[in-house]
């Protein structure tokens, strides 16, 4: 469950709805009630409203802390650091982005073996986004020319053809800036 929520964009979408839907229900209930069915002043005493205020802020702060604290484990920066110090055999790949293609030092990878993508751009802003064969995005990196290589360690868990796309607008052929990575089982 947590893996779905924190490791997929649809998980993020779900969390977004988790916050939005209760807000919509409460907001429209109060506005509807106080404009249509009971538009006069409410008899609710100040102390009760004040208690609700305290509860509301406590709830919001607690939820915000919980959601973000759990996310630490799933931050690519953290997982990259953990993989780098894990002692596992990491496959190093250099990627250079230039309008409108990628130079990738290695395009074949094994399931379960961590891959360190060290990526840079040599002309303008580019992106390096890796897509799962089912179409969802696994991760993206923003590349600024003139900066050192950005690097991330990712471990592919399924075989297949993974698409690479540029997600930073880079000119009139931006949408054509794509490539492909092949991931196979280690026995294949």
């Amino acid at each position: 469950m947590l893996d779905f929520l924190y490791q997929s964009a649809w998980g993020a979408f779900t969390i977004m709805l988790f916050f939005q839907i209760p807000f919509l229900i409460v907001f429209f209930y109060i506005v509807y009630r106080k404009t249509r069915t009971d538009s006069g002043p409410s008899g609710t005493d100040e102390k009760r409203i004040s208690r609700i205020e305290g509860l509301w802020i406590t709830l919001v702060v607690a939820l915000f802390i919980a959601v973000n604290a759990i996310s630490i484990k799933y931050m690519p920066t953290v997982s990259t650091a953990q993989a780098a110090t894990s002692g596992l055999d990491i496959q190093n790949v250099d990627v250079t982005a230039q309008s409108w293609s990628y130079q990738i030092s290695e395009r074949q990878f094994e399931v379960g073996r961590p891959v360190r993508f060290s990526v840079k751009s040599v002309d303008t802003m580019h992106g390096f986004a890796v897509y799962h064969p089912d179409g969802r995005m696994l991760f993206t990196m923003m590349l600024m020319p003139g900066m050192e290589q950005s690097s991330i360690i990712h471990t592919f868990t399924e075989p297949g053809k993974y698409k690479v796309r540029c997600l930073e607008y880079c000119g009139i052929a931006h949408h054509l800036m794509q490539d492909e990575l092949i991931v196979a089982n280690s026995s294949e």
């Binding site: 964009a9 998980g11 409410s42 802003m125 995005m137």
Partner: protein, 511 residues
């Protein structure tokens, strides 16, 4: 002043919607604001045309060049000349009528001219080939010249336009507001709704213009240096520091992020100022000024440095500590928003509400703003950002923040409309506008957010991959509904009827 009033009256079609009431003697707080609001709606029409063109080029499989022209022109027309100018116009009227100071003078004039000449130059540059997308993806403008995508001439024209707009937004307009808030004598004849800076309805205005002045300064310095180099006034070697992508990107996002935050703080302040006027029991007070002001201060403190969330995916170019700081501050804005939600709902609960179209536009805009805020904080979590950044999710957030703030300002303008023009609007049409706008805005927002969750890239002329076109179809449908709502709004303005009561009394009562 007469010239401004006449200029509005003589503008075809739009003139009759925004012509200023000359019988009240309030032209000094009405004329320039009305001209700005009118011109902003002209730009909205331009932005709408290019906005609809975007999905159409994709659905019909037209040239990708057209899509990139449309997206660049749509963004150029929508953000500054429409939304920022709408905010400028309405806020200048609010500042004038609340402080009893004229919204006239050289700063106001220059703000108007710089904004619109700048926007026109940028649009010309785009139509002649400058396709730099919604945001300024520096160093793309220069790389585009090197790769033969567009000429250096259009870059110089476009940058000149951007520079004029930046001067208007970062310097001229904030100085005019500060002049009205802190300097000059108060005039009783212009004072319609007295307020002090302790009032949440005014505090946010002061905060917002300070944010623009301070957080806009870096990009103004960098842009000025680049422009001097492009004009050949100083050698390019002398300003090479300004052309470093990292310098430009950080200066740009410090400004661009805080521009949105400043606009949000200012419009939330306007919500605080407007809501009490529609309370059913006539108390004209918020549930708590203290909590409302606290919310504004939290929004100010947290939002200023939360711009780092634009750079998470540049790890390790952005140090992790700054990324975590951006994450915490971004979610911190949610605390300010939570206090605002509480204040708004507690006020309505305690005092009841008269559901006039103006305040309902403001409240529905506020709903959109909160929905958008949730999408914003979700994508500003470091873990999710790596799966959402660069997708339509980010575009959905950008579009939603723009249209939510637009709706709140349109509501505030609707509220002030009788004072400015001496005419009243049709409630039925106002309610229709709200319904259509909400359907269009929420539908388009969720279509874009869902597209992003499905991996659909933003600013991308090939929606026909991976089944993304379906999101494009929904974006077009809801975009057209949004457009229809704006036609209803414009028709309402066009068919407005004269106030039959004594205008001065009406004006005072409404403000």
């Amino acid at each position: 002043m007469l010239n401004v009033v006449t200029a509005i009256q003589r503008t075809p079609l739009f003139g009759s919607m925004f012509s200023v009431d000359e019988s009240t003697g309030l032209e000094e707080i009405n004329a320039w604001p009305s001209l700005m609001v009118m011109t902003s709606f002209v730009w909205l029409a331009v932005a709408g045309l290019f906005g609809v063109l975007m999905p159409i080029t994709q659905l019909l499989g037209m040239q990708s060049n057209l899509f990139y022209t449309a997206i660049t022109a749509h963004g150029a027309a929508l953000v500054f000349p429409f939304l920022v100018q709408l905010m400028m116009g309405v806020s200048l009227h609010r500042a004038g009528s609340c402080m009893g100071k004229p919204a006239t003078g050289i700063l106001t004039k220059l703000t108007y001219y710089f904004m619109n000449i700048g926007a026109a130059l940028l649009t010309v540059a785009i139509l002649f080939g400058l396709k730099i997308s919604y945001a300024l993806m520096y160093p793309l403008p220069v790389v585009g010249v090197q790769l033969g995508q567009w000429s250096m001439d259009v870059v110089v024209i476009g940058f000149s336009g951007i520079a004029l707009i930046l001067v208007a937004v970062i310097v001229l307009y904030p100085l005019q507001i500060l002049k009205m808030l802190f300097f000059g004598d108060q005039r009783e004849d212009l004072l319609l709704s007295p307020r002090t800076l302790n009032d949440p309805g005014m505090l946010g205005m002061a905060m917002a213009v300070f944010i623009l002045l301070v957080m806009g300064s870096p990009i103004l310095i960098v842009a000025s240096a680049v422009l001097l180099g492009l004009y050949g006034i100083v050698p390019m070697e002398a300003i090479s520091w300004a052309t470093e992508p990292v310098v430009f990107q950080f200066a740009f996002w410090i400004f661009a992020h805080n521009l949105m935050e400043a606009m949000a703080i200012m419009v939330i302040s306007a919500v605080y100022g407007t809501l009490p006027l529609y309370l059913a029991d006539g108390t004209r007070k918020l549930y708590s000024d203290r909590i409302a002001n606290l919310a504004l201060w939290i929004l100010l403190v947290t939002s200023v440095t939360s711009f780092f969330h634009h750079f998470y995916t540049m790890f390790p170019a952005l140090p992790s500590a700054l990324a975590y700081h951006g994450n915490i501050m971004s979610w911190g804005t949610g605390i300010g928003a939570a206090l605002t939600i509480f204040t708004v709902l507690a006020t309505i609960w305690k005092h009841g509400l008269r559901p006039a179209p103006g305040i309902m536009m403001v409240l529905m805009g506020f709903v959109l703003y909160v929905l958008d805020g949730v999408s914003a904080i979700v994508t500003s979590n470091v873990a999710w950002s790596f799966q959402l950044h660069g997708t339509m999710f980010a575009s959905g957030h950008t579009m939603a923040v723009l249209i939510s703030i637009s709706m709140m300002w349109m509501g505030v303008f609707y509220h002030h409309y009788p004072v400015i023009t001496g005419r009243t609007l049709n409630q039925k049409l106002g309610n229709w506008f709200i319904k259509l706008y909400m359907v269009g805005a929420i539908g388009a927002m969720y279509a874009m957010l869902a597209g992003g969750a499905a991996g659909m890239p933003r600013r991308f002329a090939a929606w026909n991959q991976e089944g993304w076109m379906i999101y494009g179809v929904f974006i077009l449908i809801f975009g057209l509904i949004l457009g229809a709502s704006l036609f209803v709004f414009a028709y309402d303005l066009l068919k407005s009827s004269d106030i039959t009561t004594i205008p001065g009394e009406q004006a005072t009562a409404i403000s």
